[in-house]
Amino acid sequence: MKNLTELEIIESVKRGNQTDFTLLVDMYKDRAFSLLKRLLKNEMDAEEALMDSFLKVYKSLPNFRFESKFSTWFYKIVYNTGLTFLSSKNRRIDNETSSIDEYFELGENDDEIYANAENGKEYLLKLVDKLPPRHALIIILFYIDDLSLNEISQVLDLSLVNTKVLLHRSRNGLRDMLLKHNYQEEIL
């Protein structure tokens, strides 16, 4: 396997070395899949959208001008592909205003989630999957992919303030559920 930096891989693919794109796919496939799985709430749909996303990234790569970080540009394409997929399935993510004001109730399927979780950590991870799509995506992008709130706001096309509000709400919702079951001492 070639030992190239991300920048070198991008430039190589832009020069026409199609096979070097495999290196980018290997680097980003798990990240993209994690994001799409939380957005689409379905593994098969996520897999299909993953293929579409990489195809779009490949086609759009000649237009990437290094004006932002590649990861931000990449996640934006993946997120938009996920949204297109949702709309094709007659599901959609609400616009920014309604999404921010959206009330989410994590306690809806709580009995089932609580009964199936072996410990506090597993319970917490299952709850993340039950968060509304944008809330879950912010958790994934912030905690797993190490994106800054500014980068996340660019990916999700939200204002920085609203991105922060969604992150806070997600954490507060998860915290309240842990408190409800007295998991607070156990989880770590």
């Binding site: 199609q18 794109f21 899949f33 991870l125 915290r175 607070q184």
Partner: protein, 176 residues
């Protein structure tokens, strides 16, 4: 500090408070067990989320992506190579034909007496060239040259048309 609320606790977790705000928050929290428990649990959520693992993409995703790309989009290098060959062939043939026509031009000897000025020389050259061209057109070479050019043009148009049709088809299959 006005009041301890969730927003403040989150800012504390994210390290967005000033030293003075932190001191005030810690003082108020020490007197409020309920807020202290909320902050501790929020910290636990934060720590637990930091340890989350990425989901693994399904097996063979890379191979499938590359296969999809190869079938949907022609290799840029091969595509350029193909067009360069076609266009080079066309251009070289045209150059060859023009060279043949020009080298077959032989200036006539009986008009040199009056071609003294530059304008007269140019006029003479053009008239001679037209005469030569007319003689080629009138000759057997004309049919050969026209047939060759037409053949090359037809081949070029055919390859360009087929290539465009194939690319459009692949593009449609990607978009839809």
């Amino acid at each position: 500090m006005k009041q301890i609320n969730d927003d403040l606790l989150n800012k504390y977790i994210d390290g967005e408070l000033t030293r003075q705000e932190i001191d005030e928050l810690e003082y108020f929290i020490s007197t409020d067990p309920s807020s202290l428990e909320k902050l501790k649990t929020l910290k636990m959520v934060d720590e637990a989320l930091k340890k989350m693992q990425r989901d693994k993409a399904p097996a063979n995703v890379t191979e499938r992506v590359m296969s999809q790309i190869t079938s949907a989009i022609p290799d840029k290098y091969n595509k350029n190579h193909f067009f360069v060959i076609i266009i080079s062939f066309f251009v070289l043939t045209i150059i060859g034909m023009l060279s043949y026509i020009l080298t077959s031009y032989v200036p006539s000897q009986n008009t040199s007496s009056y071609s003294n000025t530059a304008i007269e020389k140019i006029n003479h050259f053009i008239l001679s060239g037209v005469g030569q061209f007319t003689s080629i057109i009138g000759g057997n070479n004309f049919h050969l040259i026209v047939a060759s050019i037409m053949l090359i043009v037809m081949f070029t148009i055919y390859f360009l048309f087929e290539s465009h049709k194939s690319f459009k088809k692949k593009l449609d299959s990607v978009v839809h």
